[in-house]
């Protein structure tokens, strides 16, 4: 019964996007009904959520649905529009439509004054559609379709206020850096096809691959994931992507799209289980990204930039779990992170909505003026910092435990990763504490008096806060009981690389350590920023000196990329423009053009304009016809 209505989950958001987009294009009068269009978009996404919830409640075995026509024919192999609802994709779909629905709801309030709201909701619905295609796809080309689709929607939404050049540039940057990664996905997909002769998930999964090939494809796919999920070396687009409306940052650049890379790697777990050395690479890059982003987040003044780097850092945590072979743990962190990071972004959106600025130095004491936002933001901060029993604690603890266990299994490199992750966990608590104290405590430093946001925005905040509190219970650590999400739910679709189980004592110790670090980070933040506010910031900047400046400018990575990749590219382009444009191009073009001109002039002479001349042609052609029919 459920499988019959599942195609609707894809149809509804697509329909919404088409109706709102084309409706707005065709009927300018409709564009003014932003609230109505937003309500429509929200209703469609929540309807899709309800369908997925029904599928979740009645879940027994993977369901498949397909559209009547195939998409492609690769040689003899058809690529159908086939979709798979298994435990992994269903969980992702629930996150996408559930959190996405709340963010849609929030957007109604956030975009109320914007004349382009119709465009916004059309793209947002289209994004939900593309993201669902990505996670539900049963074959790699269809997944790639969704992968590109979310990239395009991300591009449109980052550049939503395209009248400002910086926004348009940020959108371009995000799109181009994603394209670099996409090359990896394409190449990996083709390699897999060449080896296995199929794109089908089940067929690919059942294959046995040589270790070299699995490692190669694994690295290519991980490269794709670094683009989409903002890891070193392709992470620099994500902070710039904050140019888009804040709910977009919440939905696309925190909760869903950027986790597509984690999803892809978890989906392709069989490759990584075959090639464990690639897991070491993934883990290394992940912990480096997490630490680097955590450090940069510490020195940012833009509230959204802090959250963006925090997202990069948390994505690093997820990839660290992948690197430990604990794919389900990574997905668990995707799940909890979606709640508290969406909450934090929406909270920051509420603040930006109220104060009209994104600069932390212009805020302060907002909890009094905006009690609901303040309260929920605090919950989000505690959750991401890893204070038990909030959601972040459970997933982060699982990741740390998994990485530690991998180290305990003899791969000593993972101890280094573990220490690095501990440091990052401490930093997470520190920068989030700094952010929250600077923005919500102390006294107000801005000019426009802040006000609490309307209910349409605070209700999603409250719901997400509730989720941030309880979501962690889905994956209890072994000490407290069986992890439902790992052992009951995801076990059927994800094969985790077996980990040695830690003794309860070790586990308890690890848990205590991570809690201590979280509390310590928050306490330090409270000591520094809670007591002295912005003055502590100035003090810190003075003490750290050039390090602080460097961190504030994100270690100049952008400038490095500019120098190393972009400038040489321009030089090369200039060279080829001179070579081909001026010499070869102009020469060849002149030659061809002149030749064609001459031929044309000659042929034009045939068209004399005199009727008798045409008669001669007619008779000649008739003669040729006779000769042809009779003799040839």
């Amino acid at each position: 019964m459920v499988s019959a209505i599942l195609p609707l989950t894809l149809a509804l958001p697509l329909l919404g996007a088409a109706a709102i987009g084309f409706g707005g294009l065709a009927l300018p009068a409709l564009r003014r009904q932003g609230t109505f269009l937003g309500g429509l978009a929200t209703a469609l996404v929540l309807a899709a959520f309800a369908l997925f919830a029904a599928a979740f409640l009645s879940y027994e075995k993977p369901l498949y649905f397909a559209f009547a026509a195939d998409w492609l024919l690769v040689g003899e192999v058809p690529v159908p529009f086939r979709f798979q609802v298994d435990t992994l994709s269903l969980l992702m779909a629930l996150i996408i439509t559930g959190i996405g629905g709340l963010i849609h709801l929030y957007s109604i309030g956030y975009m109320k004054e914007d004349p382009g709201a119709w465009r916004y909701f059309a793209f947002l619905n289209l994004f939900v559609f593309a993201m669902l295609v990505l996670v539900l796809a049963d074959s790699l080309p269809v997944l790639f379709l969704g992968w590109e689709g979310v990239g395009v929607c991300s591009y449109f939404l980052i550049g939503f206020w395209f009248a400002e050049e910086a926004n348009a540039r940020a959108a371009q940057k995000a799109f181009l850096m994603n394209r670099i990664g996409d090359l990896g996905l394409l190449a990996g997909m083709i390699w897999l096809f060449a080896e296995r002769g199929s794109f089908d998930m089940a067929t690919l999964r059942s294959g046995v691959y040589p270790a070299d090939m699995a490692a190669g494809v694994g690295l290519l796919l991980f490269f794709a994931a670094t683009g989409k999920s903002a890891q070193i070396p392709l992470y620099t687009w994500l902070p710039d992507a904050m140019a888009g409306p804040t709910p977009v940052s919440a939905l696309i650049h925190a909760a869903t799209m950027v986790t597509a890379g984690v999803y892809l790697l978890a989906r392709m777990d069989f490759l990584y289980n075959t090639a464990p050395e690639v897991l070491g690479v993934v883990g290394g890059i992940a912990v480096a990204t997490a630490l680097l982003a955590g450090l940069i987040a510490l020195a940012q003044y833009d509230i959204k930039k802090v959250l963006a780097y925090s997202t990069v850092s948390q994505l690093g945590f997820m990839f660290a779990a992948i690197g430990a072979g604990a794919y389900a743990v990574a997905i668990f962190h995707v799940f909890t992170h979606a709640f508290f990071k969406a909450l934090l972004f929406l909270g920051s959106g509420s603040v930006i909505h109220a104060t009209g600025t994104q600069d932390l130095r212009q805020m302060g004491g907002l909890r009094k003026a905006m009690p609901i936002t303040g309260l929920t933001f605090w919950i989000g901060t505690l959750a991401i910092a890893g204070i038990p029993p909030l959601a972040g604690f459970f997933s982060k603890d699982e990741i740390l435990a998994a990485v530690f266990a991998r180290g305990a299994a003899g791969q000593t490199l993972y101890y280094l990763y573990w220490i690095s992750l501990l440091a990052t966990a401490f930093l997470t608590a520190l920068y989030m504490g700094r952010l929250t104290w600077l923005a919500f405590e102390g006294s107000y430093r801005g000019s426009t008096p802040p006000h609490e946001s309307p209910a349409v925005m605070t209700i999603p905040l409250l719901l997400l806060a509730a989720g941030s509190v309880v979501a962690g219970l889905a994956g209890l650590p072994a000490l407290l009981g069986p992890s439902w999400i790992r052992e009951r739910w995801l076990a059927s679709s994800v094969d985790e690389k077996p980990l040695p189980s830690l003794s309860h004592a070790t586990e308890g110790l690890l848990m205590g350590l991570s809690v201590a670090l979280a509390v310590g980070g928050l306490a330090l933040a409270g000591y520094l920023f809670g007591r002295r506010g912005l003055a502590a910031e100035a003090d810190l900047a003075r003490r750290l000196g050039r390090l602080h400046t460097a961190l504030q400018h994100a270690l100049q990575v952008d400038r490095l990329y500019e120098r190393v990749f972009v400038q040489p590219y321009f030089v090369l382009a200039d060279f080829f423009r001179t070579l081909f444009g001026s010499w070869v191009g102009r020469g060849a073009a002149t030659l061809v053009g002149q030749a064609l001109l001459r031929v044309g002039e000659g042929l034009a002479r045939l068209q004399a304009g005199y009727v008798p001349v045409y008669l001669v042609y007619l008779v000649g052609a008739g003669l040729l016809l006779v000769i042809w029919l009779r003799y040839l």
Partner: protein
Amino acid sequence: MAPELLYAVLTLSGGLFSLGLLGLLLRRNLLLAFLAIELLLNAANLNFLAFSRYHNEPTGAVFVLFGICLAAVEAVIGLGLVVRVFRAEKDLGFAKLSNLRW
């Protein structure tokens, strides 16, 4: 009808057709070119009739009738055009009618 006779008639028709083509190609005068076209049509009619006779079948004769009617229509339209051209150009040479050029 003996085939030899058929070929004699066809040769006659071919001769008339060639004369018509010659006139069409060589005449400088629109009106006289039209005369040549009449000759072409008649050559075609003769062909129809020859085969009609050869197969002892009235279809060819019917088509000759159609051909004559169409020739009448063609002549009347063509002559109308000739009159128009002459009024506009005061000249009936093909050379003047070169607006078809690019």
